[in-house]
Amino acid sequence: MNAALVSLAWKSLLARKLPVLLSMAAVALSVGLLISTEKIRGGVRAGFENTISGTDLVVGARTGSLNLVLYSVFRLGDPLQSVSWDTVELVAQHRDVSWVIPMSLGDSHRGYRVLGTDERYLQHYRYGEDQNLKVAQGTWVNGPAETVLGADVAKSLGYVLGDEIILSHGIVSAGFADHDEDPFTVVGILAPTGTPVDRTVHVSLLGIDAIHGPVKVNEDYRPDFVTSFLVGMKSRPTVLRFQRILNTYDKEPLTAVIPGVSLSRLWSIIGPVETILKVFTALVFIVGMVGLATTLLASLAGRKRELSILRAVGARPRDLLTILTLETVITTAGGVIVGWTLAYATLWGLAPYLRANYGLVLQAALPGSFDVLVFAAVIGIGLIAGLVPGISAYRQGLNEGLTSN
C-alpha cells in the first residue's frame, strides 16, 4: 500500500466531513452501546455473585429455596415462617458448625428492611471476595433502642450518628403502623459494600421485639423465633451432609440451601433476558454497520467521475479498491475510538450513581479482552462494509473505461 493512496483517501474523507462524521457517529453509538451494555451486564453479574460469600447454608422454615435466599440475602420476596430459637441454638452447638448468624426480618423503615441480628453478623458475614462488614462510623448495636444503618440508608435518608428514627411493623412505609413511642438511636453506619446490606437497617434481636411491644431489658434475653439463620461450617465437605440433616430434621420442618447453588439458579432465570439484551445490542451494531455500507455505496454514485479521473492518471482497479476500503477503515476506526471513549467516560461518570442507587459496582469496568475483540470485530466488519463499494468501484474501473460523463 502506498502513502499516496492513504493521502488520497484521507483528503477525500476531509472533503466529505458531514457524511463521514455521521457514519462515524453511527459506528461510535453501536460500539458505545455494545461496550457499555457488556460492562454493565458483567457488573450486574459480578455484583450478584458477590452478594454473599463464606456462608455455607441459609436455613429457614420449610419453604421454597429461592424464596428463602431472596428474602434472607436480597431482602426481596415473600416473608418467611419463623424458626424457633431452640433450633438456632442447637445448630450453633453442632460439632461441625463454626458459626451461625440469626436473622429476624419483616419490619421496615421508610422502605428499607429492618434486620434484627446480633454481633455474630458483624463477625461472620462475608460478601464479595471474603470481605467482612466494617462499621465506618460509630459502633455496633449494643442496646435494644440502638440501630446501625447500611451505607445507602444513611446516605439517601441523610441520617447521621445520634439521629432518632422510628421503625414500623411490616414492610409498608405508611404511617399507620408506626410505633411512635419507640425511637431508635443511630449509633453506627456501615461502610458501603455494594450489596443489599447497604440498604438494611440493623437492630438487635431484642430491638425487633421492642418494635412490636414493650420489652423488659435483662441479661438473659432470648427471642422465641427468628426468620432464618446463616450457617458457616468448620469444613466444606460436611456441608452437604449437614444440609441433609437439617432438611430432614423431625422436630421442626426446615429448609437449608447452599446460597451459591441458589444464586446460580436465580441467574439462570435471568439468563434469557441477558441473551435478549445481547441479541439487541448485536442488532443495533449490525444496523450501524449496514448504515455505514449504505452511506458508502450511495456516495459512490457521486464519485464515479473522481474514480474515472484516477483511472485516467493510471490508477489500477485495485488502487480504487484500496482507497475506498481505506476510507471505510479510517471512518470505522475513528468511530470505534470515539464510541469506546464515550462508553468508558459514561461508565466512569455513572459509576458513583449506579453504585449509590442500584448497588451496582462496575468492578469489571476496566478495558479487557472483550474490548480488543470488539475493536477487531468492528474494524473487520468495517473492512467488509468497505469492500462492497470498493468492489463496485473496482468493477467500474474494469468495465467502464474512461467514460466522459
Binding site: 499516496a4 488520497l8 483528503k11 477525500s12 476531509l14 472533503a15 466529505r16 467521475r305 473522481e306 474515472s308 479521473i309 484516477l310 483511472r311 485516467a312 492518471v313 493510471g314 490508477a315 489500477r316 482497479p317 485495485r318 488502487d319 474494469l398 473505461g401 474512461l402 467514460t403 466522459s404 460523463n405
Partner: protein
C-alpha cells in the same frame, strides 16, 4: 503508412479488433492509426462511430481482442490489466471533455496526481517533493493558472480544462490524448487552451491525439483523420 520514418511513432494502432461483449458479433475494427512525436492529430467523426472505444483501447483501459497497440515503443496490446495501467500512467496524459479535476484536491494537487501512479513521470518532474511541486506550479503558470491553492471546484470551466492539461503534461509523458477537451469552452478559452497545449507539443516533441467533432479547430492540427475512414463497427 510511412515506413522510412527514422523515429518510431509515439503511438500506433494496427488491425485492432475489440468487442464489449465476447458473445456478440458486433466488433470494433480499426485498420491503422499512428501519431508521430511532435505531431498534432485531430480525429473527427459523428457520435457512435467508436471514439470512446478507440480511446479506451489506446489508453489500455479496454483490452483489444487482436491487433497491435504500441505507445512510445511499448506494447499495450497483449499486456495484463495492471501492466496497461502502468503504461498509461507513465506514457499518456489524458484530458476529459469536462469535470477533469478531483474536487477535493487543489489545482496543484490535481496536477501532481499526474505523477502519482508513475515513478518515471515523478522522477522526470523533479528529484524531490519540492521540485515536483515547483514543476506543477510552473505548468499551471504556463496555462495562466496562478491561483493554485483554491478548491478545484471553484475554478471556471476554462480554468479547470487548463489545469487538466497541465496535469496531462506533468512529468512530460510522450503522448497526450484529449477527448473533446474544448467542447465546454467558449472561443477565447478554447484558443487559449490549444495555444498552450500545442506550444508544449512542439517544444517537447510530444504526440497529441485530440478527438472532436468541432471542425473549426482543424486548422490548428498537422493532420485530420476521419474516424470512419480507419474504423468500423460490424460483424467480423
Amino acid at each position: 503508412m510511412p515506413t522510412d520514418d527514422p523515429v518510431p511513432p509515439t503511438c500506433q494502432m494496427q488491425d485492432v479488433a475489440f468487442r464489449y461483449d465476447p458473445s456478440s458479433s458486433d466488433r470494433f475494427q480499426l485498420s491503422d492509426l499512428a501519431v508521430q512525436a511532435g505531431e498534432a492529430v485531430l480525429l473527427t467523426g459523428p457520435s457512435g462511430t467508436g471514439k470512446s472505444t478507440l480511446l479506451g483501447l489506446l489508453c489500455g483501459v479496454l483490452a483489444a481482442e487482436s491487433g497491435r497497440i504500441h505507445v512510445d515503443g511499448q506494447a499495450m496490446s497483449g499486456q495484463s490489466g495492471s501492466q496497461r495501467d502502468r503504461l498509461r500512467a507513465e506514457k499518456i496524459g489524458y484530458i476529459f471533455q469536462n469535470s477533469n479535476l478531483v474536487p477535493y484536491l487543489s489545482p496543484t494537487e490535481n496536477v501532481l496526481l499526474g505523477g502519482q501512479f508513475s515513478k518515471a513521470r515523478r522522477d522526470k518532474a523533479g528529484a524531490n517533493a519540492q521540485a515536483r511541486r515547483d514543476h506543477a506550479t510552473a505548468l499551471l503558470e504556463r496555462f495562466g493558472i496562478t491561483d493554485i491553492d483554491r478548491a478545484a471546484a471553484t475554478l471556471s470551466v476554462g480554468q479547470q480544462q487548463r489545469v487538466a492539461a497541465a496535469r496531462a503534461q506533468f512529468g512530460a509523458p510522450p503522448l497526450l490524448v484529449a477527448d473533446e477537451p474544448t467542447a465546454a469552452l467558449d472561443h477565447v478559452n478554447r484558443d487559449l487552451f490549444f495555444e498552450t497545449v500545442l506550444s508544449t507539443v512542439r517544444a517537447e516533441q510530444t504526440g497529441l491525439l485530440v478527438v472532436s467533432h468541432d471542425l473549426s479547430i482543424a486548422h490548428l492540427f498537422d493532420r485530420q483523420i476521419e474516424l470512419t475512414s480507419i474504423a468500423k463497427w460490424g460483424a467480423a
